[in-house]
Symmetry: C2
C-alpha cells in the first residue's frame, strides 16, 4: 500500500531515527482511507540531538558562505524536482487535494527555493553598510564601521496543513531560513507524514551531495508536546509557523516562557475583506463568479481566502448577492484537508447559516448576507471560518463602511472593487483600510500570492505576529538575520563580503549613500 | 530656585496638564540638594487622552508626508538648539553630570534629529519595491505589485537614566519614531523632571510652529504604574526603552499581557567584554590607562561600559592588571546618576571586591581580577555592574577563552586587542565571540557609539530584546515601520512615493534589482 516503502522515521542530524514507541498513521481525507505505514513520533532525546546538531552546523563554515548556501538550495530544488509519482501520490492521499494542485505547488516550492539561491548571488539581503573612517574629525576621530546581516541561529519551522509542499518541510520558511544561513529543525505536520518523509529525504540527499553538516536540517514528527519542546529549546533562535490563530498563539505562549525571548513569526490567516462599491456591482461582469471562485479555491482553505465582503447598497445589490450565493451553493463539494478542519468548519457554518455540508469531509460553498448593524453587534461575524464560506455585510453609506473598517482586526490582505468616478469619495476610507492590512489589492481577489520581492505576506495582528516581516517573497529572509557591526576591523576577522575590495561586489550604503 | 519658573505639568496633546494630586521633585545626586519645583504625576485619564490624541495624529496627513516630517524634525532640532543655560543647568542639576558632557549630549541630540530629517529626503528607509506586471505570463498573468514601509502607529518611549538628552524626551527613540511617521508618547524619566519639561516645551513649540497635530507628541511623568498603563494601551503599537534589564523585562512582561502583541525594543545594557591577548599587553602603550578611562567614563554609567576584561596570561599580565587597578583606583570620585544607582553599585562592588565608595553618591574606579575557573564557577561574575567597575578574568590558553566566550550572555559590544602575529590562532575564537555581540571592535574601547548608518546598537539577549534592530543610527527607524504591498493599485490610492513617476525619486528594487 501507499507509503509501505517509507522508513516511518524522523530525520535527526542526517540519521533516520525511530526511537519512540508512539506511532502515527496518515489518512486520505477525501475517502477516510487509512495508510498502513506507521510513523514514529519523535522523542525528547531525538529532538535534543537535532537541536545540538543544528548548533554545530551553525558553527560550520559552509552555512556562512553565500555560494555554498546557493549550491545547497539548488541541490534541494533539484532533488525535489526529481521526485516522481511517489511524492504526488502521497501528497494527494494525505490532503485530498487534486493532482494538478499538488503539481502546481511542487513547482512553486522549487521556484521559491531557486529564487533564494539566486538571491545569494546578489547579496542584496545582506544590508551591507560601510562608513569610512575620518581620522581628522574633531573632537574625536571617526572610526571605520562596516555592517552586515548575519544568521540568527537554528530556526524551528512548523509546517502548514494547507500547503503540504510550499509551506511545509521544504517550504518558504525552510528555504528562507537556510538562505539566511540558519540550520532548520522542522516539526512536520501530523497529517503529511509520508509527504514529509519523501521531501525530507530529498533535502537529506542534497545535504549529503553538497557536503553540508548533517545538522543543517532535521525533521521530527509529533504532536504539540514535541513542538513545545522545540520552541523552548535554548538552541533555537527563531520560529516560523503557518497555521491557525490558536496554534500560533500557543507557540507564542511557549516562547514567552523561555528565559531568552526569540522572534516568533506566525502567519495565522485572516478573513481578507473585500470592499465592493455600488458602482462596481453594476459595472463588472462576472464579479459574483470571480469572488465565489476565490472563496471556493482549495475548498476555501487558503490563508488569503476572502471570508468577508463589504458590499455597498445600490441598485445591483440583490443581483450581486444572489450571484455569489448561487455560484457558491452550486459548487460541487470537494474534500477538505482533514476531519478536524471539516468538523470545525461544519460547526461554524451551521451556526452562521443554519446549513451544513452534506457529505463527510467534503464541502460545497456557503454564504450569508447581513447588515452592518448585525455585523457590529456580534463578534462571531469577525471570526475566521476556515473553509468555503463568505459573509457579505451590506453598508448603506460611508459612515457605516468606516465603522466596519474600524471594527476589523488585522488582515493579511484587503481588496477593493471601486469605480474611477468613486475614487475621491473612497480615498479616506481606503487609507483607513490600509492600516488594517499587509497587502491592498485593487480589482482583484486575494487568493494567489506572488513569490516576488514586493510581496508582503504578513499583516497586523492577529493575521500575523509581527507585521514588520513577511513569510513570502525575498524579504522573508529578513526574519532570520541580525545586523552585526565591525569597527576598525582588519580583514582577518571580517566576513569575506566585508573584506577590502569585496564590498563593492554587493549593494551597499557608503557613508549613508546607497550604491547598487 | 532652579526650576521654579517651570510648569511642573505633563504635556498632553498640546496642553500642559496637571490633573493628578501626586507630585514629584528632582534632586542633585552630586550633593543631595532637592529642587523645590513640584511636578504633577500623570493620571490614567491624562494618559488615555495622550494616546487618543496620538491616534488622531497618526491619521493626519502631515505625519504621512516625508517633507513635512523633515520640517518637524528640523524645527525640533532648532528649538532644542536655541535652549540656553536653563536646560544645561537643569540637566547638570538632575544628573550630577558635568556641563561639558551635557553640552556634548545636547549636540548629539540635535545631530541625531537632523540626521533623521536628512534621511527623509533620501527615502532610503522606505524599502520601495516595484515588480512590474506581466500580463502575458502563463498560466496566470503576474499583477503589478509595489511595496513601501509605512508607520506602525503610536509609539511609547521610555527615557533613559544615563542620557538625559540623547536617549530621553527628544532622544534617538523619539526622533526615529517621529521620522517613521509615528506619534510618540514619552514616559519621562522620574529623575529628569525639569530637563524633560524644558525639552518637551521645545518639541511642543516645534509642533505648533510647523502646524502638526497636537497629538504628535505627548509626555507624561510618573512611576512604573503609568508606564505599565502606557504599554498596555491598545492604541500603542510599539515600545522603545533604554535602561536596566529588570526595567526592560518588566515592560516586556506588560506587553505580553496585551491581547494584541506589539514589538518592544529594549536596550538593556551589557558587560561589553574585551579580549586582550598576551601580545597586546606587551605591545600597546598605555593600554591599561585607555581601558581604565573607558571604564570610568561617565562614572561608568554607559551601556557600553567595559565591565569584563578577558586577559591572556603572559609576561605582561601583572603589569597590565596592576596598571588597570592603579589607574581606576586613582580616579577622583565623581557623582553617580542617582542614589538608587549608587546604592545598587555600592552593594555589588562591595560583594565583589570587599571595598566600597567612600563618599555618598560618588565613586572612584573599582577592579578585581580572577581566574577562568572562578568566573565559570560563579554566576555573580557575569552580572552587569552599572558603574565604574571592571572584572579581569585571566585565561591561560585558548580552550579557557573558548569556555569563557561560550559562557557569555548576549552583549551590545565585544572588543579585541590582538596582535597581527596572533590573528590566525584567534580567528575561530573571534568568530565564536561575534555570535555573542551586536558590534565587534578592534583595538578600541566600546564606549563612544557613533550615530551613523552602519552602527548596530542592539545585541543578542539580554543586551537587547530583539537583536534584529538597533536603537542608534539610521536603521533605528526600522523598528517602527512595516511593509505594505499594493497590487494593481491606481495612483489615487497609492502613497505619493509609489505613484507613477515618483518611484524613481527613491532608491528601490525594480523587479528585484536594486536601483539607487
Amino acid at each position: 500500500m501507499i507509503g509501505d516503502n517509507l522508513k516511518g522515521k524522523n530525520l535527526i542530524a542526517g540519521q533516520w531515527s525511530g526511537a519512540g514507541t508512539e506511532v502515527f498513521t496518515s489518512s486520505n481525507p477525501a475517502n477516510g482511507q487509512k495508510a498502513t505505514k506507521q510513523f514514529s513520533a519523535g522523542t525528547s532525546q531525538e529532538l535534543l540531538l537535532a537541536c545540538k546538531s543544528a548548533q554545530e552546523a551553525f558553527h560550520s563554515n559552509d552555512l556562512r558562505d553565500l555560494l555554498r548556501r546557493s549550491e545547497l538550495l539548488e541541490a534541494i530544488a533539484s532533488e525535489i524536482e526529481s521526485l516522481g509519482g511517489e511524492l504526488i501520490e502521497a501528497a494527494c492521499f494525505e490532503t485530498g487535494l487534486p493532482e494538478a494542485r499538488i503539481l502546481g505547488e511542487k513547482g512553486r516550492t522549487i521556484f521559491q527555493i531557486r529564487e533564494f539561491a539566486r538571491l545569494m548571488k546578489s547579496g542584496d539581503f545582506l544590508g551591507v553598510n560601510f562608513d569610512q573612517a575620518m581620522p581628522e574629525r574633531s573632537p574625536i576621530p571617526k572610526p571605520e564601521i562596516k555592517k552586515i546581516n548575519v544568521a540568527l541561529g537554528p530556526i524551528a519551522v512548523f509546517s502548514a496543513s494547507n500547503f503540504p509542499l510550499a509551506f511545509s518541510t521544504a517550504g518558504g520558511d525552510t528555504a528562507s531560513a537556510l538562505a539566511a544561513g540558519c540550520p532548520v529543525v522542522v516539526k512536520g505536520h501530523e497529517n503529511h507524514l509520508m509527504t514529509n518523509e519523501i521531501v525530507g529525504s530529498a533535502i537529506s540527499r542534497a545535504i549529503e551531495k553538497t557536503g553540508f553538516h548533517n545538522g543543517t536540517f532535521s525533521f521530527i514528527n509529533g504532536e504539540y508536546s514535541i513542538g513545545k519542546e522545540l520552541v523552548m529549546n535554548p538552541i533555537i533562535k527563531g520560529v516560523a509557523f503557518t497555521g491557525s490563530f490558536n496554534g500560533g498563539n500557543a507557540l507564542m505562549g511557549y516562547a514567552a516562557q523561555r528565559s531568552e525571548p526569540i522572534p516568533v513569526f506566525c502567519e495565522m490567516g485572516s478573513i481578507n475583506p473585500i470592499i465592493i462599491s455600488k458602482g462596481t456591482q453594476n459595472e463588472v461582469k462576472d464579479l459574483a463568479n470571480t469572488i465565489a471562485d476565490s472563496v471556493f479555491l482549495g475548498t476555501g482553505q487558503f490563508c488569503t481566502n476572502p471570508g468577508l465582503l463589504l458590499v455597498e447598497k445600490g441598485e445591483g445589490l440583490s443581483h450581486f448577492l444572489e450571484g455569489v450565493e448561487s455560484s457558491l451553493s452550486s459548487k460541487r463539494a470537494t474534500p477538505m484537508l482533514s476531519e478536524k478542519i471539516f468538523d470545525g468548519f461544519s460547526k461554524q457554518v451551521s451556526e452562521l447559516t443554519g446549513k451544513e455540508p452534506e457529505t463527510k469531509n467534503h464541502s460545497s460553498g456557503f454564504f450569508k448576507a447581513i447588515s452592518t448593524e448585525e455585523f457590529l453587534g456580534n463578534q462571531i461575524y469577525s471570526e475566521e471560518v476556515f473553509g468555503p464560506f463568505t459573509l457579505a455585510v451590506v453598508y448603506e453609506n460611508h459612515n457605516e463602511l468606516g465603522d466596519l473598517i474600524r471594527s476589523l482586526k488585522g488582515q493579511l490582505t484587503g481588496s477593493l472593487f471601486i469605480q474611477e468616478d468613486e475614487f475621491d469619495q473612497y480615498r479616506p476610507l481606503v487609507r483607513l483600510f490600509s492600516e488594517k492590512v499587509g497587502r491592498l489589492i485593487f480589482s482583484g481577489v486575494p487568493t494567489g500570492v506572488e513569490v516576488c520581492p514586493s510581496m508582503q505576506h504578513g499583516g497586523p495582528w492577529p493575521s500575523s505576529s509581527d507585521s514588520r516581516f513577511t513569510s513570502v517573497g525575498f524579504d522573508a529572509i529578513q526574519r532570520f538575520l541580525r545586523p552585526l557591526a565591525f569597527q576598525n576591523m582588519p580583514d582577518a576577522f571580517l566576513p569575506s563580503e566585508l573584506q577590502s575590495g569585496a564590498i563593492n561586489n554587493y549593494p551597499h550604503r557608503l557613508d549613508g549613500k546607497l550604491i547598487s
